[in-house]
């Protein structure tokens, strides 16, 4: 999260019945949320979780 605070509406776990899951915006003081990405290089934007698999996502911020 790079110092940000996740939205409480974003899940820690999910089952197949929960799909598709729309990701909600996190917050961070003095920064504006840009997008979620499914890679640490922040090159692949993701707005929903639509696959039955563990997933790791990163928040992109701008000052």
């Amino acid at each position: 999260m790079d110092g940000g605070t996740n939205n409480v509406g974003n899940p820690e776990t999910f089952v197949v019945a929960d799909l598709d899951i729309t990701l909600l915006d996190p917050t961070k003081d003095s920064f504006t949320f840009v997008a979620w990405h499914d890679n640490v290089g922040l090159t692949s934007t993701i707005t929903t979780i639509d696959t039955l698999a563990d997933i790791e996502i990163w928040a992109e911020w701008t000052e």
Binding site: N10, T13, L52, D54, E56, W58
Partner: protein, 286 residues
């Protein structure tokens, strides 16, 4: 100055190399029992204690204690699997197939590595799983689907609990088809990590079930009808007594202009008779 006599045989530069290949490729290496010694013999005997009555005796103020008979029997396990091969690579075959500048001896070592992966390891794993199928204390015939696989695995764990078999350290060997069912089961939770890992790889592997480690095993090794086997390693005796690999460089082996590796594996695998409830087998419905 004394004579310098080349040794006829020498170990590989890294004698643990081939064993490391075996350890990495074997799916059942975790079942091996390093503390069991067969030194000086090809048998080991394990004791079994049995008692004359199942119920706890009643103390009598007039007659005192109730006698409890104890029988100690010994079960003998004899090593039977003495296997191995000789691998030869002709000097010219190596030179003409390895490319310019290839270091002498590297060809035969790569052959040996592949030999272990393709021949040795599958044979050992298959033998061990067959022994577990034969020696299991619990067998159920059910066919797994994505809808019922979780319940079937829960039943296996419950059977362990009913039989007082500890789940800690148990291993779940599973056919790929069944693991796919588990991965797509509607009640299995997936995890979302928020930017805490070191890479962004999506991982859909289910590697644990209720704390029990899952090992995926090709059907060819696990057995055609086997869906999964839940094993408590303390229920089995898996021994590798002798596992040498000897390297003979060309010019040190009489009669052949070739590099040679001799590989031997003296091992066996037993289900401990009085602990066979530590193996739960599910096979497809006939």
């Amino acid at each position: 100055m004394g004579n310098t006599i080349a040794l006829v045989a020498k170990y590989l530069a890294d004698p643990a190399n081939l064993n490391a290949v075996y350890k990495a490729a074997s799916l059942t290496a975790d079942l091996e029992a390093p503390k069991v010694q067969f030194l000086g013999a090809n048998v080991v005997k394990l004791p079994t204690l049995s008692f004359g009555a199942a119920a706890l005796g009643t103390y009598s103020k007039s007659a005192g204690f109730t006698a409890m008979d104890v029988t100690k029997a010994w079960t003998t396990y004899t090593l039977s699997q003495d296997k191995g091969n000789k691998l030869l690579l002709d000097a010219m075959d190596e030179e003409e197939s390895a490319g310019e500048g290839a270091e002498s001896g590297t060809g035969i070592i790569s052959f040996a590595n592949e030999y272990i992966r393709q021949i040795v390891v599958p044979a050992i794993d298959t033998y061990r799983f067959a022994a577990m199928v034969t020696g299991t204390g619990t067998t159920v015939e059910l066919t797994s689907t994505a809808a019922n696989v979780v319940a079937q695995l829960e039943a296996a764990l419950q059977t362990f609990a009913d039989n007082e078999v500890p789940v800690e350290g148990a291993i779940l060997y599973m056919k790929p088809e069944v693991k796919t069912f588990l991965q797509t089961a509607s009640t299995v939770s997936r995890y979302v990590s928020y930017g805490t890992g070191v890479n962004g790889e999506i991982d859909n592997r289910v590697v644990f079930f209720n704390g029990v480690r899952i090992v995926q095993v090709p059907a060819g090794r696990l057995g055609a009808d086997v869906q999964f086997i839940l094993v408590q390693p303390r229920s089995v005796l898996s021994v590798v007594k002798h596992n040498p690999s000897y390297f003979f460089a060309r010019g040190t082996y009489p009669g052949m202009d070739a590099d040679e590796i001799d590989y031997r594996l003296y091992y066996d695998f037993f289900v401990i008779t009085n602990k066979n409830k530590g193996i739960y087998l599910q096979t497809v419905t006939e």
